[in-house]
Symmetry: C2
Subunit: 396 residues, 2 copies
């Protein structure tokens, strides 16, 4: 074989979500768009706020296009980074500096860069199940090893004893994703405090820094008065990966940032390692127009009411029908326990009822499916009789 | 050290261009913008064509924003890839398929992905001096080794004998960049044919595929009736990395593509390796609005007349003053031989005349500076008396 084997395998191994996508397209063509209930994709269904279009148009009309579309500095435009760091300071009370902000091409880029900045060969990275499947890909790309910590089975909060037992002298970093994809769970203040205490104990015991990386694309998607603890206020050796994908409904525009905690040991050096990792991976100068859009819309958020309404209808009905799932406080996912022998068997049977859900065995925990409720309300309502029939089929 | 050492070094080693940038800013504040002649940056000075803004506004007005700003498939929107492959077919007579096109976040991303797709540990990649400094960074990131082939000293075309002697059983790929940064040279048909013949001979001798990667951000910036040979028509195991940075003056928007030659052995497998490498590095779904802009503007080009005029004035005068340089047929760089003991000494002396040029020792060849003439004509004209004085200072 003349090309790189691992790259080939990663490219040729079709993800289950991709397969469902293809099936969905074909099935919709066959029986009609409104007859297939596709809950497989985490693509925001709520329109971007009007401010986004206004920002684009006003930037295009007011500014020199060679500047707007020109290179910014590698770490991002200075004024954009200032807007971001001011926003972090105002919202979370962290003394953030623009010189600890690295603008990136979205959440995947942010994580890739952080891992490349921190990891040495064979370093371990702990992830909390269930977790976004691509974490393994990015960790492996940075020559690291994935270590999975299993959750408390009822609440899907971190099982702190399990977590602490996974920390080893080779642990370099921990990724925490809250609100969580795929469970929709928000880790509580209590959970975060206990995770951070365990990390401090083990850092001390092993006499080494362990980094906590918060992956936060869903931060703004929380329902009710639930609070998402800001990691920097709980643990000094931390980095935050943020993306505007969901907060502004701009997933395709690939715009986000990495923020290094100013209280971290050697914060400036870590930031330089982030800059170097970005350079090494080819990520310098995040898309320039959308850097500026993000800066203008730094306090803007999508209307999350439609997601909340979908959650309430779906969670209420599905549990009434007898399905088991934890009530999600955030993101736009419902994580449902398979009443069948396996998640795949459940997925296959749901398909017969024109319900497309994602079996989650690749998310680090077996026997669950993910239902992405970022769809039109009519699809939620339309799907209910089918979910009911499916429940009856299982004798729930 | 708790972070990754190589990433830290890459981030903390300030590039000479970055240093000049900072000096330039400070010096301009001191003596005035029009008194400092900064030729250090390859940032297009010609405005993007009107069609770009028209395309953005019309896409925003006509389309559903959740689609425009939504995820495309990992390899790029199907219609965008179709527009790109049709364009390649029409311009170069290659039977291109949309399923061999991978939309990327610009030229750096394209190269990173190609190298990650092809290289195994310690594979060698040959680059032709002078070459863009970041090639070394990307090759090292893909676990490869950089092998430099030195050019013919008068023309800066490839020294084919030197090149052939560098091909070893470990050679996996060759990067060719035409028009060249920093020399401005376009490799002739004769050069390309000889390079490809040497590659075929050695592929045969070593019984292995060697890939030719064409890095083509400057393809559309050629002056007069100079032709840039299209690599796919000369060598089957080839990939083209294209960027709209310079052809549409959109360097900050990070939009480009990788095209795999349909005639390559195992073209589809190579493409899958490209997809996997993109996934592995976090590059899936290039920025969605600008994917669509690129598709609409696939036949649009910036007005290159200002660059040509700058080249003619600068080349004509500098050679008249006694400086030695090859006449650039493309890009927007002039590669001038240092009349001093070193490129750095020349750079330092030029600075005293308020002329900021880039010493190119990091570009794989010693004793030259790069002058980026992508600036306003007034800066070119204004700089001439200073270049003249500098020449006289050297007794040219």
């Amino acid at each position: 074989m003349s090309y790189n084997k691992r790259s080939f395998e990663l490219g040729s191994k079709r993800s289950v979500i991709r397969e469902i996508f293809e099936y969905s397209k074909a099935r919709k063509a066959e029986i009609g768009n409104d007859k297939v209930f596709d809950f497989s994709l985490g693509n925001p269904s709520v329109k971007p706020p009007e401010e986004v279009k206004e920002a684009i148009v006003s930037i295009l009309n007011e500014s020199d296009p060679t500047v707007v579309h020109g290179y910014t500095s590698a770490q991002g435009d200075a004024r954009v980074r200032k807007a971001v760091s001011d926003n972090i300071a105002a919202r979370f009370g962290v003394k953030m500096s623009p010189d600890l902000i690295y603008m990136t091409c979205g959440a995947a880029a942010s994580l890739s860069i952080c891992l490349k900045a921190l990891l040495d060969k064979d370093d371990e990275v702990i992830v909390f199940a269930p977790f976004f499947t691509e974490y393994s890909v990015f960790i492996t790309n940075a020559d690291g090893k994935v270590v999975v910590s299993m959750p408390e089975s009822k609440t899907f909060q971190v099982d702190v004893a399990d977590f602490e037992s996974r920390i080893s002298p080779r642990t370099k970093a921990v990724i925490i994703n809250s609100p969580n994809n795929p469970s929709g769970v928000v880790y509580t203040k209590d959970t975060v405090e206990k995770v951070c205490e365990a990390l401090r104990r083990k850092s001390c015991e092993y006499k080494k820094d362990i980094y906590l990386i918060a992956d936060e694309p869903y931060r703004e998607l929380v329902y009710g008065d639930v609070e998402v603890p800001y990691i920097m206020n709980y643990y000094k050796n931390s980095l935050v990966c943020y993306s505007y994908s969901k907060s502004l409904s701009l997933p395709g525009e690939r715009i986000g940032y990495i923020a290094v905690n100013p209280e971290a040991d050697c914060a400036q050096e870590i930031y330089l390692a982030v800059c170097g990792a970005g350079r090494s991976l080819g990520y310098v100068c995040a898309p320039s127009l959308f850097q500026r859009v993000a800066a203008r819309c730094v306090n803007t958020k999508v209307n999350i009411a439609p997601y909340k309404e979908n959650r309430d209808i779906l969670y209420g009905n599905l549990t009434d029908f007898g399905f088991e799932c934890v009530k999600p406080d955030g993101a736009f996912y419902l994580f449902v326990k398979s009443p069948d022998v396996s998640a795949t068997a459940f997925y296959e049977k749901a398909k017969k009822y024109e319900l497309l859900v994602v079996p989650c065995d690749d998310f680090g925990i077996e026997g669950y499916v993910r239902i992405a409720y970022c769809v039109d309300k009519s699809a939620i309502v339309g799907s209910l009789p089918y979910f009911k029939a499916l429940a009856q089929d299982y004798g729930l």
